[in-house]
Symmetry: C2
Subunit: 199 residues, 2 copies
């Protein structure tokens, strides 16, 4: 037996279908939306539609944008000879926040994952190869996550870029700044030792 | 500097405005909605609009419904002489789940809270008094949450119903003090109903 009106149960179902939202949270969110001031719920619905309608991928770097090309690719001060390859648009946001990187990006929209049936044709690898093949690229920094799939994807792309006159690098592994040797896992410690540098 | 398109930032803002959703979760949800299959995001938006348009309060018990009156009030097998008073529609759902209660409900849509400037006229108390005044009601069970505001609201209503020939009871303290009706297990709710006492 349903204890709420059908249209309200539908709203709960919609929220419950979102990642990380359980049944109880979905119910709380649905009540919240129902209790919003006049016009606010409509604005919520319209924001969803508007975002879906305007947001697409940048034809150059595949990052999300609502313009012709994304702000990074449009920025003439960015160094087009260095491409930083990331798995997801949110990774671009993280790197931009660090204000350290002055090059451009390439967003793969995923990583290779045989377990989840994600192959090279399912992510934006060919677009990257095309960019490199067009020349002018001196370095490709692989900034996929430091896990099995991220490593495998970086390795695969590095091999693919071998024929081109381009340096392929990988983000350094090591102990996170501000963390503690005692609580660092063995794999990270091994990498940190391997990657040790002259002081 | 914004790292995402404006319409996408708007979508993140919308999700972040929901209760219990932080900035990171909101970003994850926005990405999810953007990645939904064609038509799914539209269906999400329409569900919000549809729920807002069809759901209203039952003119009898003030619970949420999309019909003329709610399913409980429409059910002829329910005992109209016993009214269970709850703070929120979700509390009706909790009590119905326990399958112990055969009477009808009254939803206050809040509790008295001087701290939050919620007075007797801000919740559906007068509607309850009117129901009791119309006669045929033998018992009113106060099932507001067992916390300070829930107790005070129950006490206030009990005093208000004194002039009428009606028994006013309170859910038994089988419910752990300081907790929440919404998260109470069925067995505890059954005990609480069985052990209700004269106020």
């Amino acid at each position: 037996m349903a204890f709420f009106p059908a249209s309200f149960e539908d709203l709960i179902d919609r929220f419950a279908s979102l990642p990380g939202i359980g049944r109880k949270s979905a119910q709380r969110l649905a009540f919240h939306v129902l209790g919003l001031p006049e016009g606010e719920a409509e604005a919520f619905a319209e924001t969803i539609l508007w975002a879906r309608r305007t947001v697409h991928t940048c034809p150059v770097c595949q990052n999300l944008t609502d313009g012709d090309i994304c702000p990074v690719c449009a920025d003439e001060r960015r160094d087009r000879s260095v491409i930083c390859v990331v798995a997801e648009p949110r990774d671009v946001a993280s790197l931009e926040r660090s204000r350290e990187f002055g090059g451009v990006y390439h967003v793969l929209h995923g990583v290779l994952s045989p377990m989840s049936h994600v192959g090279p044709d399912d992510i934006r690898i060919s677009e990257l190869v095309k960019r490199v093949a067009e020349g002018d690229v001196k370095e490709v920094i692989m900034a996929t996550n430091p896990d099995t799939e991220g490593d495998a994807t970086a390795m695969y792309i590095a091999r693919l870029l071998k024929p081109f006159d381009v340096r392929v690098t990988r983000l350094a592994y090591g102990i996170p700044v501000g963390s503690n040797l005692e609580f660092t896992d063995d794999a990270t410690l091994v990498r940190a030792l391997e990657g040790r540098r002259e002081m």
